[in-house]
Amino acid sequence: MTPTRIRTIVLRALLLTVLALAATFALDPFRNYQLAVVAATFCATAGLTLLVGLTGQLSVGHAVLMAAGGYGYALASAPAADAGLGGPARFALGMLGALVLSGAVGGLLGLAGARLRGPYLAGLTLALVIALPALATQVPGLGKDQGLSVPFEGVPAPLAGLMVVEQWHAWIAVLVAAVVVTPLVVLRSGRPGLRMRAVHGDEVAARLAGVSPARVKVGAFLVSSVAAGLGGAVLAVVTQNVGPGRYSLAFSLLLLVAVVVGGLGSIGGAAAGAALVVLLPWLVDTAVSGLPADVAQRLSGNLAVAVFGALLVAVTLAWPGGLAAATAGPRGRLARRLTRGPAPALPPPSDTRPDPQPITER
């Protein structure tokens, strides 16, 4: 990948970051909080879209990786706070903790995933996310159902007059997202991205070309896990808490919705998707709050999920490239091609049922 390409990507990221930071001045505190949550979710969806879109590994447990990041942050920053360390040092330590824990979990999952075909990996991540509440309750030191509290990151002195804490948190979130996502864009556009797509398309051919499928898949899992973990850490900072309740199967599925609707493999799509899955439920809740109590209770939560489920089905059936493909252009076309899988050798035969796949690789 040429230095010019990298420079372009970095410059573009810089520009977008500055714009986002500037935008926070125009938003009220609640909107800034939402922006922070979207940015944190974006870290996870950016990693997930690469994992699912480029290497074809489906994970329905990415919430657990965000949780790992959150717990890692809490476990590392709490003692730092007790030791009296100041804001930046405490934050850095916390982020390191998040990186380590989410990297460890992601690495292990990736190792398991490299040996497994699609449905099996998905099933394993499903079992993991369902077991998370049990993990949190049974492993000592994780705070059981209430979870752990996270040290409060107040606005630093030099900026105290300029902004309130929600805006400061939005700044943290945007900056972390920029630092996490930009390398992902570089990876995707460069040789690692090519290797990932090669492995997804045809593992045997990839191996013959000198690409190690196992290493690529584990690498992809690791990268996406760390991205999700750092996003989870930001979420923990913004909400000052990390507990099993937030990181449920439902949340994992929302992440999946975000990347599918946004367009598998598209980072821009991941951003749009993140915004969608954070803002839509809130919109629905606001809309139904006017209705009688029991109706509202049934609708809130459920209606958004129903819409997301329908979107998931509709997008996969009708617009496999998601939002990214809908915005026609080279990026969109790429997203569409990425999701279609390996191309057929001849004109599509009348028998469109795919050949049986072996359960595992040996």
């Binding site: 699912v52 489906l58 329905v60 398991a112 040996r115 497994l116 075909r117 699609g118 449905p119 099996y120 998905a122 099933g123 394993l124 499903l126 079992a127 993991l128 369902i130 077991a131 509440p133 049990a134 993990l135 309750t137 049974q138 199967l249 599925l253 999946l256 919705v257 599918v260 029991d294 049934r298 609708l299 939560g301 459920n302 209606l303 999920v305 129903a306 997301f308 489920g309 329908a310 979107l311 998931l312 089905v313 996969t316 059936l317 496999p320 999701t339 279609r340 899988g341 390996p342 057929p344 028998d351 469109t352 049922r353 795919p354 050949d355 049986p356 796949q357 072996p358 359960i359 595992t360």
Partner: protein
């Protein structure tokens, strides 16, 4: 010792239900070569229908029939209406569609029937029968045992001794060759879905009376357990589903009894991880050979 016997026999009873659900996953794998992630959600819908039938008529037999029929119809609807239109040569789009379906089904159920658990009275007594002074299975457990065995034997006969079964098996492993021999492969896939969803509905119907009650999420844990069983036993082995179901059922029962209920999901996860790492094809899996 008494405690062990009780735990094991409870585990066996519970394990049979899991085995039955796992069997439904095996059927759909043998018939269509996919793992249907929406299986439990579809089964729960069928059981809600059965519940309504039972409330209306008071007859368990009618409710059971309703569950089977609804399950089969749902299978046809989902396969013809949704899965058949999934493009792409990898299993990924199919899985994503199934997940979307789960979200739609569970949330719609939640909107329509609310979050309460609706208790279902078991058709036979759940109090344990005694061998001497040792409590073992209850009448309801024996009923489940009989049903499970009937289904297993029936399906075994269907797949291995009938021409329909031969076509189902051939369609799954060699669809193109089967078409060249005159087999209507798309129809076989639909039949596979019908059978599979009917059996899944039956499994959930048998499960619910032993739990708190019927609820949109009644099938979630069952799916994870059954998936573990199917992996343990090998996705194409009905016998494996049976044995695996008993293993998982007893494991969960023992862990709940001797440790705590909270550890059960972890035990299942640990078991799944170990099996997948050691034998990614499942312990009983037959060799996945391609057509020669």
């Amino acid at each position: 010792m008494d405690r062990l016997v009780l735990l094991v026999s409870t585990g066996v009873a519970r394990g049979l239900v899991v085995a039955l659900f796992a069997l439904s996953l095996v059927i759909i794998w043998r018939a269509a070569r996919i793992v249907n992630f929406a299986q439990a959600a579809m089964a729960v819908v069928a059981v809600y229908v059965a519940f309504a039938v039972q409330q209306a008529t008071g007859s368990y037999v009618l409710a059971l029939l309703a569950a089977l029929v609804t399950g089969a119809l749902l299978g046809v609807a989902v396969e013809r209406g949704l899965m058949r239109h999934v493009a792409g040569r990898t299993p990924l789009p199919g899985m994503i569609v199934a997940i979307g379906l789960v979200m739609v089904l569970q949330s719609t159920l939640g909107i329509l029937v609310g979050p309460q658990h609706r208790p279902m009275t078991p058709v036979l007594s759940q109090s344990p029968l005694y061998v001497g002074t040792v409590p073992v299975l209850s009448r309801y457990d024996l009923f489940v045992l009989v049903v499970a065995l009937v289904v297993v034997v029936g399906l075994g006969l269907l797949f291995n001794r009938t021409t329909l079964g031969l076509q189902l098996r051939a369609s799954a492993v060699a669809p193109e060759v089967s078409r060249l021999l005159g087999v209507r492969v798309p129809r076989m896939v639909t039949v596979g879905w019908m059978l599979s969803c009917a059996v899944a509905a039956l499994a959930v119907l048998l499960l619910v009376p032993t739990e708190l009650g019927l609820n949109a999420h009644s099938g979630d844990v069952l799916f994870v357990h059954a998936f573990t069983v199917a992996v343990l036993g090998g996705l194409d082995s009905p016998a494996g589903a049976l044995v695996g179901g008993l293993v998982v059922g007893v494991l969960v029962s023992l862990v709940t009894g001797y440790a705590s209920a909270g550890l059960a999901p972890l035990a299942v996860l640990a078991l799944l991880t170990v099996v997948l790492l050691v034998r990614p094809g499942g312990i009983f899996a037959t060799r996945e050979a391609r057509t020669a």
